[in-house]
């Protein structure tokens, strides 16, 4: 069974977002997603300073199996990207919620968070997908 932390918010396309203490948002893909993808070999991330919009493509994750778009769950300015993924893309497989994060965003509209799935709803979405 995949690990779906209760404190995060999710998109049904398998991205997670965590609102940090300073109000910024960190984005990555879920344990369920990394398991579906298999070994991740490259991650293409947005540029620091770029403005991204909720629901739009913000990057690409390439695994041995397939290439998948990364959608941003929220709108805002990209404050940082996870440069460690360049050398160690396997962090996405091994630590999807910790060192395998993708990018951090300064939120422009906190109400974006309201339309996202909670852990329970995301878990149900994964189950639907499996059947």
């Amino acid at each position: 069974m995949s690990n779906i932390p209760g404190e995060l918010k999710y998109l049904s396309s398998h991205e997670w977002v965590r609102v940090e203490a300073d109000g910024t948002a960190t984005i990555g893909i879920t344990d369920h997603a990394q398991d579906l993808l298999g070994d991740v070999v490259f991650v293409e991330l947005p540029e620091v300073g770029a403005e991204i919009n909720a629901g739009e493509e913000a990057g690409v994750v390439e695994s041995v199996k397939a290439a998948s778009d990364i959608f941003s769950p929220v709108s805002g300015e990209v404050l940082a990207i996870n440069e460690a993924l360049e050398e160690s893309p396997d962090l996405v497989n091994n630590e999807p919620y910790e060192d395998g994060w993708f990018f951090k965003v300064k939120l422009t509209d906190e109400s974006d968070l309201e339309s996202l799935l909670d852990a329970e709803a995301y878990s149900a979405a994964c189950e639907d997908e499996d059947h």
Partner: protein, 361 residues
């Protein structure tokens, strides 16, 4: 629910992630495809390939029949155990399947793909009229591939005695029987190793003994990245019923001599050769980020277009490689349409990797 091999429960117990593979429930990996790939390049790994179809052929006309059925000539098989790689073609020269045929003491053994089983068997039966032959499928046999620089030593360690002695005598592309098992020095990874055909009731204990000896279970995902690095064709990707061996880097498997051997597809191949073959299979290399994938469009400036037949990330090289069908005039570079962008790639001659090291120039 698909077909299951004798090792299915063992795969699940080993943590295998099971996927549908040509109608069979097979492990794609046991945790990490990349790790399994590296194990085969550096030490030894084992694959369950029991889903492959094994057909034995006997009868007075067995040789004459295969000389008609196959593009390569089984007359090359002078000694028992010798193996031959060949295409089985249709009348228009397309590849119905690629297969290995072994000369056995009492006839021949053919190992064909799993996804093509039904059409292969139907075709073989259909072509049998007028020949005194008996075709016998052997679903009760399992097949394991043990591959990697340590594979032969590990197999001999587990199979002490007569079978180990037989393994020591094997030449590359040769398979010999011992005590109801067939030990073949063949593979699909570009490494030395064995493919072992054995009674399915022995498969689980043999697998477990190999595992205890340190041979790592590997899934069919790693088998695909390994075979692609080795520049080997996959049926349904590099060739199919609409592709001739001349277009699939398999010209070397067509035995044109003797000229009076009338094999199925010969006339079409001769006509194609006379007209000039229009396409070829080449290797592509993308040393930058990104992964080449099957079916991506290839653009050769001033020449024409082609298509990637198989593409993947090469775990050994650390970047992406592919096999592509391109116009014959293609030079040493071309572009691939990747996610709506054109990316320049190098055109090379496969294989990409042999015995663990880069070999393309």
């Amino acid at each position: 629910m698909g077909n299951k091999t004798a090792l299915y429960d063992t795969h699940v117990a080993c943590g295998g992630k099971i996927v549908d593979f040509g109608g069979w429930d097979m492990p794609i990996h046991y945790g990490s495809q990349l790790e399994e790939h590296h194990i085969v390049r550096q030490a030894s790994g084992m694959f369950d390939v029991s889903h492959m179809t094994i057909v034995d052929l006997a009868g007075d006309d067995a040789k004459r029949y295969l000389q008609y059925l196959l593009a390569n000539d089984v007359d090359k098989l002078k000694d028992v155990g010798k193996a031959l790689y060949t295409g089985m073609l249709n009348e228009k020269g397309g590849v119905i399947d690629d297969l290995i045929v072994y000369k056995m003491p009492e006839g021949y053994r053919l190992v064909v793909n799993c996804g093509t089983r039904e059409k292969d068997l139907a075709w073989m039966e259909k072509q049998a009229s007028g020949f005194d032959i008996v075709l016998t499928e052997r679903p009760e046999l399992a097949m394991l591939a043990i591959q990697g620089p340590d594979a032969i030593a590990k197999a001999k360690e587990v199979l002490a005695g007569e079978k180990a002695d037989v393994i020591s005598t094997l030449k590359v592309f040769q398979g010999l029987e011992s005590g109801g098992w067939m030990l073949c020095r063949t593979g699909y990874t570009g490494e030395d190793g064995l493919e072992i055909i054995l009674p399915e009731e022995s498969a689980v204990s043999f697998w477990q003994q190999l595992q205890t000896a340190g041979v790592k279970p590997c899934g069919l995902g790693a088998r695909d990245t390994l075979r692609l690095e080795a520049g080997m064709n996959l049926y349904g990707s590099e060739m199919d019923e609409d592709t001739s061996p001349l277009q699939a880097n398999m010209a070397w498997t067509i035995a044109w001599q003797p000229e009076d051997r009338k094999f199925i597809g010969r006339a079409a191949l001769e006509a194609e050769k006379t007209d000039g073959v229009k396409t070829k299979l080449v290797g592509l290399v993308l040393e930058e980020r990104g992964v080449l994938r099957g079916h991506q469009k290839v653009i050769v400036e001033g020449v024409g277009e082609g298509e990637i037949t198989s593409g993947t990330f090469s775990p050994t090289l650390g970047y992406s490689i592919a096999i592509a069908r391109v116009p014959m005039e293609t030079g040493d570079s071309c572009s691939v349409e990747m996610r709506k962008k054109l990316q320049t790639v190098k055109v090379v001659t496969p294989p990409f990797v042999r015995n663990g090291a880069r070999v393309y120039k």
